[in-house]
Symmetry: C2
């Protein structure tokens, strides 16, 4: 495809995207296809001859659009926000068009230095300590793995350069909340610690945040048994209920044992742009790393996850390679991001952050984040005031955890029941099946509840109000339906 053919097709595609974004509030929110339906709509072989652009675009409309959940809809309240601001889409297009190759500073100095500049902008905007340095990874899962690898190597005195983890005399242990994201446990296993060495520290039953005393006790017990605490993963905003582990209390305990403290603020990190939310990471100066995802609430299109570290040398000592074909005269004085993470080749992801921040401006982003916090608080207040509805976890951010609990579905002592679980799953299925909104059912203490995660870029108060009406309507209708 020549530049001129690209020009013609890209203009058509741009119009298609603008039109798609403009109509998105009217599309069914959830994907509406059965397993295998998308695959069956596509040919079994790649075409030998070029197809016209119109044919590909037609399939995008016919096959792909109904096959994805519309995360950009103002009626999307699922999982966590996955905003893709138009400004960041432009930045990502610039990145693809330019096609820079980030394998060493010298291959694309701008790729490295724009990343240094925008991560420094965001360090300051989120109140992280001066001197902390950031890099872009794909996801918080990967960032957590990188942090735990660094923790493993710190605790083992760089055992990877000798006999590896297998040669370590004492088992290394990792501590986290049972409410932490699934990727934390996965990262600990991938890093080789072993399930037997991952401690799920007790949480406060009310706040669902990690108990500092329980952490201290778990670490003492491991030390007494000849194990060595290597890492504590602190969840600032858990996935289920956005519970906020008390970093200021936890970090000093970890410090006593030299354990690496990684803060997983994947969702909540965006709120750090608001000075009034900085308390969430009080104590961060004693931590070692912090990750948050601009590709969630902030709205820099997937994939864009930031990992900040107090001391990049601890990453570099674990991740560094220096083959001859990547050497240059600038090596001593520049940042080599390949040594800060897993991949060698890096895309110019900083452009989407750069475009996003410059074209939207920080002030407007803060206004939007505060809007969402207020909308979530409004919804939580409605739930608290409504008969038979209950907030099942404290509102800490913008995700409202709720349940419809009509008295006849509770046990005699007011406890939840299997029948209530069936009711919850029935009405949430009705909501999501309606196409009018999308929310996420999730287990809490073994019972189903519903997470309403406010924060799609297009979501205004009217959309939250419409959702609340829809939830009530669906719950009442499910209550009237024959049990089953």
């Amino acid at each position: 495809m020549t530049p001129e053919e690209f020009r013609v097709a890209a203009h058509v595609l741009v119009d298609w995207i603008a039109d798609h974004r403009a109509r998105i509030a009217d599309l069914p929110v959830a994907a509406r296809v059965a397993p295998g339906e998308v695959a069956a709509a596509l040919p079994a072989q790649a075409p030998e001859r070029p197809e016209p652009f119109a044919a590909v675009l037609a399939d995008l409309e016919r096959v792909v659009v109904p096959g994805v959940t519309q995360t950009q809809s103002p009626h999307f309240f699922g999982w966590f926000p996955s905003n893709a601001s138009a400004a960041s889409v432009l930045g990502d297009l610039a990145s693809s068009g330019l096609a820079a190759l980030g394998i060493t500073w010298a291959s694309a100095p701008a790729l490295t230095e724009v990343e240094e500049v925008v991560t420094e902008w965001l360090r300051e905007l989120t109140g992280l300590p001066a001197g902390w340095r950031g890099a872009i990874h794909d996801t918080a899962s990967t960032a957590c793995l990188v942090a735990l690898l660094a923790a493993r190597e710190r605790a083992s005195g760089l055992s990877q350069n000798r006999g590896g983890l297998q040669s370590e005399p004492a088992p290394l242990t990792v501590y986290t909340s049972p409410e932490a994201h699934s990727s934390v446990g996965k990262a600990a296993l991938l890093a080789g610690f072993g399930a037997a060495n991952v401690r799920h520290v007790d949480v406060d039953p009310r706040t669902r945040a990690m108990c500092p005393d329980a952490l201290a006790a778990a670490m003492e017990e491991d030390l007494a048994a000849g194990r060595r605490p290597a890492a504590v993963v602190v969840a600032v905003g858990t996935t289920g209920t956005t519970a906020i582990d008390p970093l200021a209390d936890l970090a000093p305990i970890a410090a006593r044992y030299g354990a690496w403290v990684h803060v997983d603020a994947a969702m909540a990190g965006s709120a750090l742009l608001l000075p009034e939310r900085r308390w969430m990471i009080d104590g961060v100066e004693s931590a070692d790393s912090l990750c948050w995802n601009p590709h969630k609430w902030l709205g820099t299109v997937l994939d864009c996850s930031l990992l900040y570290v107090r001391d990049p040398a601890e990453l570099i000592s674990v991740m560094s390679t220096n083959p001859s074909y990547l050497r240059s005269s600038a090596d001593g004085e520049v940042t080599q991001y390949r040594d800060w993470g897993i991949p060698l080749g890096r895309r110019f992801r900083a452009l989407k952050l750069w475009f996003h921040l410059r074209l939207d401006g920080v002030e407007a982003i803060r206004v939007r984040l505060r809007r969402d916090l207020a909308n979530a608080a409004w919804l939580a207040a409605q739930v608290e005031q409504a008969p038979d509805w209950r907030l099942v976890a404290p509102l800490t951010l913008q995700t409202v955890c709720l349940r419809h609990e009509p008295a006849d579905l509770l046990d005699a002592d007011g406890a939840t029941s299997d029948e209530l679980d069936r009711h919850t799953l029935a009405w949430v299925a009705a909501v999501n099946g309606s196409g009018r909104a999308f929310v996420t059912p999730s287990l809490l203490d073994g019972r189903w509840m519903v997470r309403v995660s406010v924060g799609a870029e297009a979501t205004e108060r009217e959309h939250v109000a419409a959702l609340w009406a829809l939830l009530q309507e669906a719950a009442v209708a499910a209550g009237r339906a024959p049990a089953g």
Copy 2:
């Protein structure tokens, strides 16, 4: 930014990209900025208020373009090709605009199923065995880490679910070529094997490919010493000289010990679309995984690396998570790609492959790959016929490894010298500094040589001929300059 504001700005950006691609042959190929120069050109803080799109675009032109190596230039012969076909750029734009969220099949069925379809297209096109399944990762570095984690867990009987690698009685060993990519050794260390358990197996001094006998001997030695062979990484196309390890001879040796065989064909994999090049992976049916990067020679814009496995269950048993908020009624019958790799959240990367294959067609891609092989062979023939020039490694693919060796810079016995190294680095610096082409110096047996990696999408015979003239001109000029 509203959809209408996006429309206006995106049309301007599309024209900018088309114009940039159209002029690219005339731009200096190498980035021309000093360390810190890009960062210094940008403001120290993010803007509070939105900036006009024209200002951002002006900085893209002023700061970013001179700050990246023009990998899309027909004069780019550096590292390996990093093609970003216009068709794939369109697919990536569609992905960003649509902003689907891949965290579970149900969140975006099309994201999963288009990926299944295009990886199946490419499985068949590259002659991989029926039943092998592919997934898209960011880079071959990550894919190799995933393969070595699977290897570790196979060899240890899923030690991650118990006491981890630390609890293993016998050290687990990994075998690879000393000429393998730097990411292989890095992946082995990150997976926790330890440098003491990574074996660099001897290569044939002429072909630079791994010696099967040396592999067998190394494995026997380790077994005798109480260690357990866990993985063999076979390089089909090494980074330095594109040497091709003899998979058909190596895989049966690995199979004797149950070791995982990972084939790293990051660069060479594109050539598997040519039936006449399938011999490169003879024996693959006994391997466990193979990775290649469409973001290199094939030309699907970064980042797009394919990892094929014989049995996905071996990945899933190591990588799987299943939090309640990601469950759906379809779970039993669909692919959950989050369980095939490290990240949970996945971008809709399959669209760029889908657009690329459909808009360009396979036939045209094959024609281009054969053109590049012929151009590399032509250049190699010129080098062989030219006095004082030498091919320093056999041409196996499209990367020509050469040196200018005037007699007066060789030792009395015809051996290379420090003086020759200085000469090589001088003329390659002159080539790259001219802006007229870009090649990569690299060490081979401790001496500098020059890699000319043919295969940029725009590179025709005339560009290779111009490069050859430039190399000769630069080498002669460097020879005339005062030594030092």
